[in-house]
């Protein structure tokens, strides 16, 4: 039998749409394969589990060469909103859920959802500012304890 992965712990550190989805898809996909999964939200990635912000995660239109249009254009007011809307519509067609629904779904698969203590302190947040699916606010040391024996993926 070939080698198998039994457990993954995925760190999401970015707060842009394109910085967030890959980690969520990997966590959800891990659970679908029967792999144990933990998600750890740190720095701007914390927006994904922030009650007031998780519905407003946008695609980066400045400094994002993958979009193939001029940085000057990307900086114009409203461009990020329009591009985000365009991307969300495309994803909806592929049945990729919006971020708030996706994180709820991932929690329902039994994956662990954790927020980084240093980032929560940095942004002066409390547990109450975070969505109910967040199981705990943990330190980096506690994250390593959780991740022990599995793979760690940083995004």
């Amino acid at each position: 039998m070939a080698d198998t992965i039994e457990k993954v712990s995925i760190v999401i550190s970015k707060g842009s749409l394109d910085g967030v989805y890959p980690g969520l898809i990997m966590a959800n996909g891990a659970r679908a394969e029967g792999i144990e999964a933990n998600l750890f939200f740190t720095f701007f990635g914390l927006d994904v589990v922030h009650k007031a912000r998780h519905e407003h995660i946008k695609i980066a239109t400045v400094g994002n060469p993958g979009l193939h249009f001029a940085t000057m254009l990307g900086g114009l007011p409203g461009v990020s909103t329009v591009m985000t809307h365009y991307m969300n519509t495309k994803m909806e067609k592929l049945d990729i859920p919006p971020i708030p629904e996706f994180i709820e779904m991932i929690a329902d698969t039994g994956a662990g959802i954790y927020a980084c203590k240093a980032s929560v302190d940095l942004f002066a947040l409390e547990k109450n500012d975070l969505i109910d699916q967040v199981q705990d606010i943990i330190t980096v040391g506690e994250f390593y304890t959780l991740a022990a024996g599995g793979e760690i993926i940083f995004t």
Partner: protein, 105 residues
Amino acid sequence: MPTTTLASTNVELNDEGFFVHPEQWNEEMAPELARQEGIDELTEGHWKVIRFMRDEFLAKGAGPSVRMLAKTSGISIKELYQLFPKGPAKIAAKIAGIPKPRGCI
């Protein structure tokens, strides 16, 4: 490809344990396939998912991935994972004798 005997019938499985010929499957094989996946007893809840996966495959040519399974069957994601902790779509497809669903979501 490995051949195995289920319910006194020879069937062909691929390297991951999925049926190569879904038409070789019948319901009598399901309990043994389930035991191999760590499910000792198939409840009515399990059967509902297994039959749903099978019907979707027969109707559409492919079984659904987890999100689509939950959406179309009306069984919640939580319940699906309680029934099949090792991956609802994957394990139910294996027990239902159909190919592994190929969705990313």
